[in-house]
Amino acid sequence: MDAQDVNQGNNNNNDDDGGGGGIRIPERLLRREQARQEDAERRRKAKEKQSVTEENSEFFIVAFNRDREAVEELMAACSGSDRDADAQTLDRAAAQTQELQKFLNDSVMFLAQYELRQAQASLQRLQTSLAEKRDEVLPKKKFAFRSRTRAKEPVPDAVGPPPVPGPGPGPATAPDGVKADVTPHAEQCGFSDMAAAVLTKTSEEIDKQDVLLSHLTDCRVRLYGSPCTVHIKHVRGCEILCGPVTGSVFVDHCSDSTLAVACQQLRTHHATATRVYLHVTSRAIVEDCSGVGFAPFTWSYPTLDRDFEASGLDRARNNWDQVDDFNWLAAGTPSPNWAVIAEEDRRTTWDL
């Protein structure tokens, strides 16, 4: 485009000048020549930018050899005097070898067969010598039938990560010292490790907390308020009544109990002989349960309406009798693990 424009301009000028100044043109011509050269230069640079330097077998060979020497130096640095330091150095060497392999793989496209074979072979040698060095500096304990020390045999630190990420023994599991961290913290709202007690929480105490009830036996629990979520674990012979829950209620290991709860989701696991008076806006599920009965939520307390509003649950939508049993996927036949409680058997009074 540019060139053409210049050309036209020139022609016009030529016409304007008429036949008068044949010798004065060069200035314009010079300018045109300069523009042409700049254009060519620009195009040459653009072309240079597109041809990637990395895709050049000379570049590859230089870079490959440089990296290979670096790995060899690392290996030479392992004197065998400091085990930990050597292990680290060898790990680094292994990682670099791996990178080298990746570099080679990436470059396969533009390498000649001969260069490829050469690089492959030298990489092979490198890996062999790395393995030899590892055996030499960090000898694995010889296998022997010694029952007492066997458990300690695979010391992951000494062996280092496997050279290629893949299957194989996973990293060592952390010591079990983290347990303390995981136990319920002091501010956790709820009740744990109680028996034969009447336990209540007020609306103010619950106030959008996540509530945990665990290891309760023969307790009567009243949660007046709207929790965010509720976990009920390891309860026996309990009666647990709970106000509207914004999210999910998670029940695990529950037997001979009565629950009344309004929630968005109910997940019931390992429950036996348990009656659930339920308001659920999405779905309830049971898994590994037997003898679980369901009926609509009928518990009421003075501030229930307010708590329903706070929870955001839809009072008009209650899927209490649509229960998915994860152990009973046969469509058509109802699951034997849960049933609807017959109307005459349902509880109507909830007084303490």
């Binding site: 996973g170 983290v178 945990l212 599920i285 590994d288």
Partner: protein
């Protein structure tokens, strides 16, 4: 332009990734998926089976598989491992009692050969709950620092509020992209 460059460019154009979302039941996997996709999260039922969503994000086409986490479904997880670029492991940060379970299931997954190349994103979900553990506590309790076989990252998030979902997914995409689609 070299042939390799052309090939890379072609691969770059597809920019399709497969993400697999797993975790114990009640962790919030479906909620994360729906929230990320801008859907209503108030009517989600426990997942009996799986959900798939295909969505566009930052010019990538993401196929996200959300598989139910109930115990009875976990044995089916393996059916979804093939050609997974990224694994999203979702943890219920408020469920202290099952953190051990959670750790075991994750470490079993990481031994899977078919997940060997996948990047791991751990979502410490439900950070909006007052009783939630911090992501540092989760990281320690689950022994994440011992993971040497995968690229990993833990991010505290809340599926309900949507907090940090984007930054988590962005990290995952960047890590996968750096591996799969070589930048120009």
């Amino acid at each position: 332009m070299g042939l390799l460059t052309i090939l890379k460019k072609m691969k770059h154009k597809e920019r399709e990734m497969r993400l697999l979302m797993l975790g114990l039941d009640n962790a919030g996997k479906t909620t994360i998926l729906k929230k990320f996709n801008g859907e209503d999260v108030s009517t989600i039922s426990p997942t009996l089976g799986f959900n798939i969503k295909t969505l566009e994000h930052r010019g990538f086409k993401l196929n996200i598989w959300d598989v139910g986490g109930q115990k009875s479904l976990r044995s089916y997880w393996r059916n979804y491992f093939e050609s997974t670029d990224g694994l999203v492991w979702v943890v219920d940060s408020a469920d202290r009692l099952r953190l051990d379970d959670c750790k075991q299931e994750l470490s079993a997954l990481l031994l899977e050969e078919r997940l060997a190349g996948a990047t791991l994103l751990v979502f410490a979900n439900k950070q909006d709950l007052p009783g939630a553990l911090s992501k540092e506590a989760i990281r320690e309790a689950m022994g994440l620092d011992d993971i040497k076989t995968h690229h990993w990252c833990i991010i505290g998030c809340s599926a309900v509020t949507g907090e940090n979902l984007l930054s988590g997914v962005d990290w995952l995409l960047d890590d996968i992209a750096a591996r799969v689609f070589t930048a120009d």
